[in-house]
Symmetry: C2
Subunit: 274 residues, 2 copies
């Protein structure tokens, strides 16, 4: 199996070309022959939802997903409620863009908290409060485990096992998981989990692991093929589990962001696993 | 249970006071009333093994463990054999210092490799080749899982589960695991694993998780009490599992290293979980 010998299911997550506006990213995908784009809400807000819908449609692009909902834990009930409301808007935006996927990054520990179990429980409750609205909107929530180095300040969901456990109470059609190679490559338990829960794979994202990590560790990912992750193994694993959705390339990297976007896209296509 | 209301089982891992020589660290422990020290091999080499043995004995200190063996994966058979030999010397040094514990940090992926499973297998084989010498020397190897952010370049053993699996083929008296709060705090599976494998807990190390992480991520740990890790929960978990060994404070932090060691030790004692 060679999942990337054609581009038919490839998507550019626009974080990879961070300095491009939404319009530039859409045009860049069209020029590169990439049929889909993963859209970030900050870029969407800049463009305006109605304008974004038109741009995507005019370019004939698919939207693989919206990044991101989540960020649920908070110190006060009022703040937690506000975050739920914001996630309802994220669902609406995904529906408007014609995608069936909203990626959720759960959020980190509330300031001063050491209660990691409690934070994860709160994430599960928040997702539960969104299930009806998401289902009615035709949008599936994809819980994304981030690498454990983000556990305190960005995402208390640090493993695929934790994401699957949070999704378990809800129908797989409403709540799935996002499998990102950068976040999961070190975890030997993912292979059995993917086999055991094929119906939960809602999104698949590619980035490579390179070192040294930069300060803050957010923007040190590698383009596919530049690091030590066996990306082809992940591609086979999700395909073998029956996943037929998009493969998003999502790379946060200061050096790549400083380059012309078209060159970055060319390198993305060059580095994909065959 | 309040594991730290007295200092009787506390040890200073000398990495916490990185700029102190072995002699200075030994004198610092004595002044602070800390009864044990975890010794690093680079500091030991500076002091000389025979001199170190005398210094420790003269100060009436215990040696909680030696850091570190391991660093097994390598690209060539000759290099791998050299690393096994070096680990035999580490075992000899631990025995000379009168400690029963050698902490193993497995090493990262060989240059250019994407074969994480293969690297972990190699770690297991290397440990197997050391078991007889360690047992004959009265030294137990403690496989330390490092945080997954170190998986590529420092330690392919990234979870307690992986460490336990590597230890499993060998007697618990010969091969155990090192439980370090900094490396494991994000993992919800550790609590059941500690309960299920109480006889494998060979070492217990404390550091706290703080952000933002510095470039390279090695030297960003927090003194106990300064971060988001529920240290008391870990202390209870290992105690409940029957662990009665040392609690080493091991903090890699550039800012702490720039401070006078005695002040750092005072803050260590202040921040311990009660």
């Amino acid at each position: 199996m060679q999942p990337f010998t054609n581009l038919a299911r490839l998507s550019l997550n626009q974080a990879t070309t961070q300095r491009w506006s939404l319009r530039e990213a859409i045009e860049g995908c069209a020029r590169a022959g990439i049929p889909a784009i993963g859209i970030w809400r900050d870029k969407l807000a800049e463009a305006g939802v109605a304008a974004a819908v038109r741009m995507v449609r005019d370019a004939g692009l698919h939207v693989s997903g919206v990044c991101r909902g989540g960020m649920f834990p908070a110190a006060t009930a009022a703040e937690r409620a506000a975050r739920i409301d914001d996630n309802r808007r994220a669902i609406d935006e995904a529906a408007a863009l014609g995608t069936d996927t909203l990626v959720l990054v759960s959020g980190g520990l509330p300031e001063g908290s050491r209660d990691i179990d409690g934070a994860r429980e709160h994430v599960g409750e928040a997702i539960g409060r969104l299930v009806d609205h998401a289902t009615a909107s035709g949008v599936r929530m994809a819980i994304e485990p981030l690498h454990p180095m983000f556990c305190s300040d960005r995402c208390v969901v640090a493993t695929l096992g934790q994401a699957l456990a949070l999704a378990a109470p809800y129908p797989a059609s409403a709540v799935g998981v996002c499998v990102d190679t950068y976040h999961l490559w070190w975890d030997d338990t993912v292979w059995d989990q993917l086999r055991a829960h094929p119906d939960r794979i809602a999104a698949f994202q590619l980035a490579d692991w390179i070192t040294p990590l930069p300060a803050g560790v957010l923007t040190g990912r590698g383009l596919p093929g530049t690091g030590c992750v066996d990306l082809a193994r992940f591609a086979r694993a999700v395909a073998d589990a029956g996943y037929r959705g998009w493969t998003e390339v999502e790379v946060f990297n200061d050096q790549e962001w400083a380059r012309p976007g078209a060159e970055v896209l060319a390198d993305v296509l060059e580095g994909l696993p065959s």
